[in-house]
Structure formats: structure tokens, C-alpha cells
Amino acid sequence: MPDFHLTLNGKSRIIKVDDGSTPLLWVLRDTLGLVGTKYGCGIAQCGACTVHLNGAPIRSCLLPVSAVDGEEVLTIEGLANKDGTLHALQQAWIDFDVAQCGYCQAGQIMSAAALLEQNPNPNDMEIEGAMAGNYCRCGTYNRIKAAIHAAAVMISQRGSGK
């Protein structure tokens, strides 16, 4: 059984998986019990499975766990700040009551978090570009946009923290 080493949500982990071609999504969910990352399509169309790989948003449903050996992975469970307070995006998602069913929202928030890292003050077009890979079947797109704008303001007011 091959072992894979990764830094997961800031902690170094050794993961035992029978089959190195198993997508990261299923290792997170079935092996590690981190079920915040969701399965929606398995073909990189819906974005429900979005996590960060070395800070960049990726679709974990198609990425074999062997490909993340030695890398840094961040999931929704590790997004909150170190002091336990919510990431500005998580707070904005609550403030704007974004979710309907909520199933897509972990993926949405992870895509948005990567965007704000790159671009702390995105305009609508830039948001649409960064969020293009995330479906919301319930149609909460307008609230997602509003919450990202609000989180950007929150982050700039808090200074360097999120």
C-alpha cells in the first residue's frame, strides 16, 4: 500500500491508499473523513469538489492522489483563520445568507478564496471569470457575487488578516 505525504490544512499527513490513482476527492471524503469537499459530477464541470493545491483552486474529482504527493492541500475545513475566527468569505456567506441547499457552497468559497488571494479587490467580471467553474444548481450566483465583494472589503479593513 503506497504512502503519500502531504500538507493538509496546515498539518503534515501520511496517507495510506490502496490505489494511487484514486482522485483526491475520494481520499479526502472516504479515507480522511473530510466531507466538506463535495462530489457533483466527477468530470471537472461543476466545481463542487474545489480545493486548493499549493494555493491554486483545483477540481479534486479528477486529480489522482499520487499527483499531490509532497504538496500542500487546503480544504474548506482548514479555511478558517488560525485563531478560530471564520475567513472573511465564510463570514460574508453567513451575513448574505448565500446558501439555499448549500451543497455547492464549499466549492464556491474555495474558488473565491483563491481569487481573493490573487486579487484582493476583484470587479464583477473578474469574479465571473474566477467563479466560472462552479455551478450553483439553486441559483445563488448573485449573492455569491455580493458576498465576495463584501469579503474583499472586510479583508482590506482588517489589514493583512482575513
Binding site: I76, L89, C101, C104, C138
Partner: protein, 756 residues
């Protein structure tokens, strides 16, 4: 396997449709009357605080079923000051878990921050109807919830008055405190919990419900009670459930519904990595429960998915669907030129009106099947032990689920326990409990806890689809430019040759728009044979009738040279309620008000650039009056951009403004996503679309601005989860006409060469 007796009453989607959408019943009974004597206070062990139990929703069916109206919901106030409120209905994204407790908290004068919502277990004997469907949860429980909150408040006030030795009527309440302002004293509810528990429940007529104008919580924007858990990725959904020693299953069914397993390479599958079991289930003869198929059980979801790809089944398709959309469409087009086979409703003399009207136009509308495609693919977790089964299920109809599982396993319902999980979207798909039945049969076979996970492909190709269909119209205008007659031939499908597929035709044709409003009207129907499974899809029936009806009405307005707004208002006429005082009947006064409001807010009549247009549509469904105006552009190359949709709604007083607005925004975007480019087609019984690459939902860049305006009338509150959807498609198509002169008569829009 021994076949258990089939009890169709519990699995029939039609029966469920009656239950969730009373507009299709003749009885049209809507009111749930509460009697305060049915409230019961349960003061548990000393110091446990105050519990007021009451009954929600169970009474409507009391006479017609074995279900008893029992106490099924409660408010519990702990001495520490937490206020627990029970939520008995499934949460599928419609916000009920937040809205229902808000109603109680309002009358209780509770501080919303003190309120904790608990999800109840599934037992329809105790809890009455437990469904999420038909946008009915609020309407049917409004009075009971208000009375429950007011009763608890009254008892807390009495407890405070007794302690202070002052008259109860001098006491006031606010934010979980009782006040005696004269003496500047206050006590938190928690401190009164044990004393209140010892008091008798107040008599009828001694409590007053609040006036709507005094609401502090209702009508505000309140963030959903599960939001913190959602944004931190906690395990809320069906797919997130895990049990000790749990295995992972997939279930392969025939791609053409009705096929049975002839043989499969089970031995080869059993040798694949991680695979523990592979076996055939024969099905139980009920396509809403357990179809025949092959189960593969493995040590992980991925191992099961991989093994499924290697599975080779030879299907006996002698009894399977051979449906072909292309064929069906051709036959429907031929039928469109003929009179309908049967008359569903007729009033006046249409034939005479056709002869005498100044002008008449004919039009043929066609729309395709669509899937539910909730983002969480179907799944369920189960554990069968010692003749009993527990299930963790993301379902919209857990009560029906109990019966379906019991029927599938041939066991009594009291041996089945369902734990409700949050559901990643429902839209009507999860009213059918086939994944529960499948996993129940699999868990019993392997005698182990197991999670069944459908792939997206399973989900899309084994849905209960919203049926496609066709409308052939003839409508007339008199010499004064008024609507003279309306003849409508509906072409739908039938599984048995006798009745239309579910939601394929209006169940109360006399109440279907515009039958109630004109003198010479005829609705006829023809049906084509179909095997493809059909189901209930957000705003069943209305989601397609509204499109055809409200577009054709616009065609008539254009033919008459009239402004659409003015034409529509003229049709509504004087304010009338049809039938009177019936929540599920059209009220033309409320209709006219929302139509005018939508038009005003959208700037109806304003000057627009070339290629830009406004389109209007109204529809009444699920007790909600909704009018919408879409502002769009159409380019020379037929690129459609929807800029803004204005929604005007009357659903009575709004409970949670944030939730209601979210439902309206979501309905608009769902409606738009569906009408722009979604279709399910079948060939040789096989569904041709299997994942989001061939069934592309709308993405964020195509989401229009949505402005929602509520008229908060004094009528009882009704749901917002469905009625905002039907007017969207006709509003957009009418706008396409205004912008480009092109009349859309086929959905999705891509069929007429449009793109986004």
C-alpha cells in the same frame, strides 16, 4: 427472493401530488384549524425547564388515513435560557428549517439568538405529513405555529406575574425577557421555565395573536440556521454520512427503463481491487422503489465506481422502453393539426366564436423533457440488522420513504427508521425514494452498513423527468381588439393509455388560466404512449403551461395591436376570487396588483435601444401570484443576454425576507437555466444526456440581476419555493419577441438557434 406484496398507494407519486398540491383536489381544503386544547405542556423531570408540545400539519389527513393528529412539535425552554424549537419537515434548500421556527419565535417574543432548531425524526404517525413539496409547509402550519408561540409566551408572562404578584396584563415581553415596566423589573425566560411548566395551558380566547404591523422578527432578513455548519464544511448532507465498518455501493440499472438483468460478469467484478460483493437484485415490480439491477459493494466509493466501469450486463429489454424523442415529436406535430382526442373542459360556444371573431391565429408550442439534476447526486446510507433497518436519507418525502422501504423489504413500517439529512437540492426528484429502497435491499443482502452512491450519470439517466409536451392553440380577437375565444389542444404522454403522465395535463382544467376568465374556451387533449419515467419538477405543470399560455396570450395582444400590459389587465377584469376565499384559487385583484407592480418597477414602456426588449408574464400557482418582467438583448447573430428580471409577488406576509428573496432569485435562475439550454432526449429508451457536459446548467456570468418586490397582503402566508419559476420563461420569450421580432415556440431556446 420472495416478492413482497405491492402496496401501490404508498408509492404512487400521483397520491403524493394530491397531498402536496391541493389545487388538484376537488375538496380544495386548505385550512388547518387548531384548537388550543390540543396543546399540551409536558413538564418533565424537575428542573428540566418548560416544554410545550403541539400538533403541526397532521390534521388535514386525519379523517382519511390512519394517521392521528398527535402532538408532534414542541418548544422547549431550558433553565439556562436556550429555546429549542422542533422542525419536522425536510430541509432541501427551501429554508423551512429557519422559517418555521421564526414564526414561533415571533409570537413567543424570543430573542432569535437564543433559538436552537432541532430536526425531528421521521414518524408520520406522530408528526403528520413530513414532505417538502408543493410550497405548502408554511401555509398549512401558520396558525398552529403562531398559537404555539403565543401560548408559551402567555405562560411565561403568567409565571413572572405570579412571582412579582402583579397582574399579568401589566407585563410585557421582549427578546426572551418578561418586563414589568412600572417597577423596572425583568426576568429572562430561562429563569421562568420551571415555574411556567407548572402552570395550566391558557384557555381558548385568552391569548391574542400579534398584529402584523407589530412584527419584530417576521419579514426581516434572517440568515439560515445551518449556515455556519455549511460554510465550515460540516457533515450535513446525505452523502456525508458514515457508519462504523461502512461499505460503499453502486447500483447499475438497465439504461432503458423496464429492462431486466439477463446475465453479468459478476465473477470478474468480484476479483477487482476493493470489491467485496457483486450480485443481482431482481427488483420488486415497482419502478418507484426497486428496479432490477446489479449491486457492487466495495471498500471505497472510488473502488465501487471503478468496478462499475468494468461491469458488463446483458439486459433483457423485451419489456423495456423504446421511446424515441424524434419519433414522438413527429407524431405530435401531426396531431397538432387535428382536434384533440378528448375534451377536458369547455365553456361557451367556441365553434361559433371561431366563425364570428374578427381575426384568429394558430400557434404550436413544443418543449422537451428536463432532469432535476440536484447537485448532490442521489445517495442513501443504511444498516439492516436483526430484521430492522435504519436509513440516513436526503429525501423530500421521508414519510413515504418509510412505506416504500417497508414494502421493498416486506417488513412492517415500525421496523424502519429514517434519519433526515439535509438534501443538496430536491426540485421534486427526492419525492421518489428509489435510492432508499435500493440501499435497503443491498444492506439486507450483505448484512452490513453501506452507503449507496449514484454517479452523476446514474442520476441523470435514471431520473423521473419533467415531461416534455406540445400545445396547439387557436385564439381569436373580436372587432374591439378583445380576446374573443381560446382553443387549446394539449398533446402529452401516457404510460397506460388512460391518464396523462404526472403533471402532463392540468388536474383542474376549469381552474387553469385563462379558462376562468373567458366566455368561449375549449381545452382538449391527446396522448402519446411513453415508458420514460416522469415525475414532479419544481412547480409541476405550471412550469410549462405558464410558458405556452403566457406566450400565446402575448401573441394575441400583438395581433390585436394592443399593449401587453393593458391586454393582460383587461383580461383580469374586476377583482374576483375564483373560487372565492380559496387560497389555491386565482384572485384577479391580487393578480392585477402584481402585474402593475412588476411593470412599474421594470419601467414598462420605457425607450430601449434597438435589439433590447422587455417581456412580461404572469402566472398563478401554488397559491402565489407572480408577475415578472425580463429585460434582454438579442444580437444579430441571435446571442441572448438577459440583463434584469423584475419579480413582483404576493404570497401574503413574508416570513423570512432573505429566504423568500433567495427562493425567487433561485427560481428565476433555475427557470432561465432550464429554458435557455436544457433538454433530455431519448433514443431507443436510452437517455441521451448523462452529465453536465451534455446538460449544461447556467453559469455565473449568465445570471441576470434579479429584483424582487413583495406585496405583503393580509392573506395567509404561502410558499415561495415554486411559484416564482413559471412566469420566467414566458417573460423571457416575450422579451425576445420585443427585442427581435422572433416568436419563440420551442424550448429550450437553443433549438431555435439562440445562444448565450
Amino acid at each position: 427472493m420472495k416478492k413482497p406484496p405491492v402496496k401501490p398507494v404508498f408509492s404512487s407519486l400521483e397520491a403524493l401530488f394530491d397531498e402536496i398540491d391541493p389545487s388538484g383536489n376537488n375538496s380544495l381544503s386548505t385550512a388547518v384549524k387548531t384548537d388550543r386544547r390540543t396543546f399540551l405542556k409536558i413538564s418533565g423531570a424537575a428542573g428540566a425547564g418548560f416544554v410545550l408540545a403541539f400538533s403541526l400539519g397532521g390534521k388535514v389527513e386525519a379523517a382519511s388515513s390512519k394517521r392521528r393528529a398527535e402532538l408532534n412539535a414542541y418548544i422547549r425552554i431550558s433553565p439556562e435560557g436556550s429555546i429549542f424549537i422542533h422542525s419536522k419537515n425536510p430541509e432541501i434548500g427551501q429554508g423551512i428549517k429557519t422559517a418555521m421556527p421564526m414564526i414561533i419565535a415571533e409570537e413567543l417574543d424570543a430573542d432569535w439568538n437564543d433559538v436552537k432548531v432541532e430536526q425531528s425524526p421521521i414518524n408520520e404517525n406522530i408528526f403528520g405529513r413530513q414532505n417538502a413539496g408543493g410550497s405548502r409547509s408554511i401555509a398549512s402550519n401558520w396558525d398552529t405555529m403562531r398559537e404555539a408561540g403565543a401560548t408559551a409566551r402567555g405562560m411565561l408572562v403568567q409565571a413572572a406575574a405570579d412571582r412579582w404578584r402583579v397582574p399579568a396584563k401589566e407585563c410585557t415581553t421582549e427578546k426572551s425577557f418578561v418586563f414589568h415596566k412600572k417597577t423596572h423589573r425583568k426576568i429572562p425566560y430561562g429563569d421562568l421555565a420551571n415555574e411556567a411548566a407548572r402552570l395550566p395551558v391558557p384557555l381558548d380566547g385568552t391569548l391574542k395573536l400579534k398584529d402584523r404591523r407589530d412584527y419584530k422578527l417576521l419579514g426581516r432578513r434572517i440568515s439560515g440556521v445551518d449556515n455556519y455548519a455549511l460554510v465550515t464544511g460540516q457533515p450535513l448532507f446525505g452523502i456525508d454520512q458514515a457508519l462504523p465498518g461502512m461499505l460503499y455501493a453502486v447500483y447499475e440499472k438497465c439504461p432503458a427503463v423496464g429492462g431486466i438483468v439477463a446475465s453479468a460478469n459478476l465473477d470478474a467484478i468480484r476479483r477487482l481491487p476493493g470489491v467485496k460483493h457483486a450480485f443481482v437484485l431482481p427488483g420488486n415490480g415497482n419502478e418507484q422503489e426497486l428496479l432490477p439491477g446489479v449491486a457492487i459493494v466495495a471498500t471505497s466509493t472510488w473502488a465501487a465506481f471503478q468496478a462499475k466501469k468494468q461491469l458488463n450486463v446483458s439486459w433483457d429489454e423485451s419489456g423495456a422502453s423504446k421511446d424515441s424523442w424524434g419519433e414522438l415529436e413527429k407524431r405530435a406535430q401531426a396531431l397538432g393539426n387535428q382536434p384533440g382526442k378528448e375534451t377536458l373542459y369547455e365553456v361557451g360556444d367556441v365553434d361559433a366564436a371561431i366563425q364570428s371573431s374578427a381575426q384568429s391565429i394558430d400557434s404550436f408550442y413544443s418543449f422537451r423533457f428536463v432532469a432535476h439534476a440536484s447537485l448532490e447526486p442521489q445517495n442513501c446510507t443504511a444498516w439492516y440488522r436483526n430484521g430492522e433497518i435504519q436509513l440516513w436519507a436526503p429525501t423530500q418525502s421521508p414519510g413515504r420513504g418509510l412505506a416504500s422501504v417497508a414494502n421493498t423489504l416486506g417488513i412492517e413500517e415500525d421496523k424502519v427508521t429514517i434519519h433526515q439529512t439535509r438534501a443538496g437540492g430536491g426540485f421534486g426528484r427526492r419525492l421518489v425514494n428509489d435510492p432508499l429502497c435500493e440501499v435497503a435491499a443491498i444492506s439486507r443482502h450483505i448484512k452490513a452498513p453501506v452507503k449507496l452512491q449514484w454517479t452523476r450519470e446514474d442520476d441523470m439517466t435514471h431520473d423521473f423527468y419533467r415531461a416534455g409536451g406540445f400545445h396547439s392553440f387557436k385564439g381569436g380577437i373580436d372587432s374591439a381588439g378583445k380576446l374573443a375565444f381560446w382553443q387549446h389542444h394539449l398533446i402529452t404522454f401516457s404510460h397506460d393509455g388512460e391518464k396523462p403522465v404526472i403533471a402532463g395535463a392540468p388536474r383542474q382544467p376549469a381552474h387553469e388560466f385563462p379558462a376562468q376568465l373567458i366566455g368561449d374556451f375549449r381545452l382538449t387533449q391527446s396522448m402519446l404512449p411513453l415508458k420514460t419515467r416522469c415525475g414532479l419538477w419544481r412547480a409541476p405543470g405550471s412550469n410549462t403551461y405558464a410558458w405556452a399560455l403566457q406566450c400565446f396570450l402575448h401573441e394575441l395582444a400583438v395581433a390585436a395591436g394592443r399593449d401587453h400590459l393593458e391586454f393582460l389587465l383587461e383580461l383580469m377584469g374586476e377583482p374576483t376570487w375564483l373560487p372565492p376565499k380559496n387560497l389555491y384559487g386565482l384572485n384577479t385583484g391580487r393578480a392585477a396588483d402584481v402585474i402593475k407592480l412588476a411593470a412599474e418597477k421594470a419601467g414598462w414602456g420605457k425607450k430601449l435601444a434597438a435589439g433590447r426588449g422587455l417581456g412580461l408574464a404572469f402566472h398563478f400557482s401554488h397559491a402565489g401570484h407572480f408577475a415578472e418582467v425580463a429585460e434582454i438583448s438579442v444580437s444579430e447573430s441571435k446571442k441572448v443576454t438577459v440583463h434584469k428580471v423584475t419579480v413582483a409577488a404576493d404570497i401574503g406576509p413574508v416570513i423570512n425576507l432573505s429566504g423568500a428573496e433567495n427562493q425567487c432569485e433561485g427560481s428565476v435562475i433555475d427557470g432561465l437555466s432550464t429554458m435557455l439550454g436544457l433538454e433530455i432526449t431519448m433514443e431507443n429508451g436510452r437517455i441521451q444526456q448523462s452529465n453536465f457536459d451534455t446538460y449544461p446548467l447556467l453559469r455565473i456570468r449568465n445570471a441576470p440581476t434579479v429584483n424582487v418586490h413583495f406585496i405583503q397582503s393580509d392573506n395567509p402566508p404561502t410558499g415561495a419555493g415554486e411559484p416564482a419559476l413559471p412566469p420566467l420563461a414566458p417573460a423571457v420569450c416575450n422579451a425576445v419577441y420585443a427585442a427581435s421580432g422572433h416568436r419563440v415556440r420551442t424550448l429550450p431556446l437553443t433549438k431555435e438557434g439562440f445562444f448565450t
